[in-house]
Symmetry: C2
Subunit: 389 residues, 2 copies
């Protein structure tokens, strides 16, 4: 049904490498699927996985879904969803826009395809559109998604910036959604630190959304990648934002929510990360700040890990252990040594007997502790007894 030569012409520079006719036709078929479906369409995912995109598409066009892997009712609903979108010229228009915007088409058959996407099962994207370097998807896979509220506070933007800058400095890719607020602060700090950063978009890549971030998106594409699963020309609808969020969670190694209101969209990303078994971090903030309420909710309801430093973020993805701020042994441990020190004075020397009485410890015990404290230089021995140094 798909003419290889026409597919080759229309795909042109969108695809990489030397491709056979079958390869070209398969990629073209995926673009057709891409135009028929909304992100996360499970029926499309099942069909293309079971029959291959070309064969699945041929059956759909013949209205032959009854003998397929889908249940009867599900198949009927799927056809009802897809049929209104089977319009002549739709695919050619998408590819024309994609070529003009110098995008890359990445499919599961391509080297640059992130296997992590397949963790979404039948809801995995059918293709990915990329502006910039598709290899940045690999960096994203071991990187950290830093997301949060559009209506961020100065505190939130500061923390997102600090984290992203430190991650960039240690070579960790920062993934986000190029939105106002936390997302932009994370991308910008990563760029400033010379790091690789990847933006996942909810709409087609031929233009930036929000428009005010046109230059930011340009800069991200110049060194990292700007990625979307929806075809060029698609508007960023609410549903596509929600589905984009699942991609942010899936295509990175861990997700950190920096600030989020009680019903923020970033909580949606967090739930996807949690459902995918990806580590989830939340940055705490003042309980008096509405912009942190969603983060606290994640700590309470989703058992997110409380992260307060870039080191703790790296720990989420298994980059080294946290060594404890300020070093040294941690939580105050009560020991007999403390009691002995309590019983000593800086001004007057006290006998071991006197220290024993004051500390409520035995003389022998006190003497051994005094010996150890003496070794540490914490007490001095005088003719009348012991004194704190």
């Amino acid at each position: 049904m798909i003419d290889p030569q026409r597919a080759r012409d229309e795909l042109g520079p969108l695809v990489a490498g030397v491709l056979s006719d079958d390869d070209v036709v398969e990629r073209y078929a995926r673009v057709v699927w891409n135009t028929l479906t909304e992100p996360g369409d499970g029926a499309a995912g099942i069909l293309t996985a079971a029959q291959g995109p070309v064969e699945a598409l041929a059956r759909v066009r013949r209205g032959e879904l009854s003998d397929s892997v889908l249940e009867r009712g599900e198949a009927r609903l799927a056809l009802e969803r897809w049929e209104p979108r089977m319009r002549p010229g739709a695919v050619s228009a998408v590819l024309r826009t994609a070529r003009a915007a110098r995008l890359h088409l990445v499919t599961p058959a391509d080297e640059a395809w992130p296997d992590a996407a397949d963790d979404l099962g039948p809801h995995a994207p059918l293709v990915l559109w990329v502006r910039g370097d598709p290899r940045a998807l690999e960096a994203a896979r071991s990187g950290v998604a830093i997301v949060g509220a559009r209506a961020a506070t100065a505190y939130g933007e500061h923390v997102a910036g600090e984290f992203a800058a430190e991650l960039a400095a240690s070579g960790v890719c920062v993934v986000s959604g190029a939105a106002f607020g936390i997302d932009a602060a994370a991308h910008r700090a990563s760029l400033a630190g010379g790091g690789c950063t990847v933006a996942l978009m909810a709409g087609g890549l031929e233009r930036a959304y929000p428009q005010a971030h046109t230059e930011l998106v340009e800069r991200i594409a110049a060194t990292g990648a700007v990625v979307s699963e929806v075809a060029p020309g698609s508007a960023p609808t609410k549903w596509r934002f929600l589905q984009r969020n699942r991609l942010i969670a899936a295509l990175s190694a861990a997700t950190v929510v920096v600030e989020a209101g009680w019903r923020s969209g970033s909580l949606n990303t967090a739930h996807h990360a949690s459902a995918l078994g990806r580590p989830l971090g939340a940055v705490p903030g003042p309980v008096t700040s509405a912009a942190s309420a969603g983060c606290h909710r994640l700590l309470r309801e989703l058992e997110a890990t409380c992260v307060t430093t870039a080191a703790e973020v790296r720990e989420l993805i298994g980059w080294g252990e946290l060594t404890g701020r300020g070093g040294g042994e941690s939580a105050p441990r009560t020991t007999d040594a403390t009691r002995v020190r309590d019983a000593l004075s800086r001004r007057v020397a006290r006998s071991a007997q006197e220290v024993a009485r004051r500390s409520g410890l035995g003389v022998a015990d006190v003497q051994s502790h005094l010996g150890l404290l003496h070794l540490d230089g914490l007490v001095t021995a005088e003719s009348e007894g012991w004194r704190l140094t």
Copy 2:
């Protein structure tokens, strides 16, 4: 060894009720133990529990610990600890000070003794000294400890005050340590709200520590209670502060840390609460604030519950479910018992089968939960089935 008449004279108004000679002697013996030991002395706890304070004391005085419940080495060390403190007149002096300060002596034999103290096992206090109303100990037991840094910020004091005021308004006792910062903010807000508040002190109760809180301590004693396990005249040493912290955790139903530095003493209280299996809450704050670093540490290392409102604090002690800010369905922490209760009605009785259907649980499961709820008096059994009480 202890003369009942002398004991009765010296204890005087410190003890409550009509007491037999044996009762009086036992209480006096506990005070002797109190003067011999530091808080949390495990050997003293084991001996007094096994032999009673009078007999245990007699054996100690005869140096007869070898045939006792203690291991030989342990017994020797214990005697070495206690002997330096066996000074004539020490107990009389303590009781004189206690009478002058109008304290109450509360022992395990007294009605006001908080059974929760016994959760500390051999490290339980041997007596409690109380200024104010000893019955406040019972309120403390179902109340919440609000603790935190001395070097609190305006944010921390604000949150502590808000929580304590709301808890006071809903009749929840606020327990704390009367220190500067968070402790004082909690006590003050509880007092201002007309609530019962209990202060646990590290030193003897004949004077306030810190001295600047003399008036605050006075006000706490006037409506609630100020409590210490160390004898009047004892200085608040570092060891005693640490041991006092275990009492704060043990004598309340849950502990909430509002602000704490990375090595704050309130983390010690938190560890005790956790070790005792008492619910532990931590209030988040800006990651840029050193005063919140300890709270974040509790969230990370001790799996403390993130608490941001007084309602969430009440939830820690099982006072009603959180209904979710802004109304939405939130907390997915529904236990099966909750689901069973959700499926019951106050108005009509329902069969176990009906409850199973409504709750989505199996009938056998439902029946066992109904049995437990019945024991707790939360449901009643009727001929037609079960009803919420």
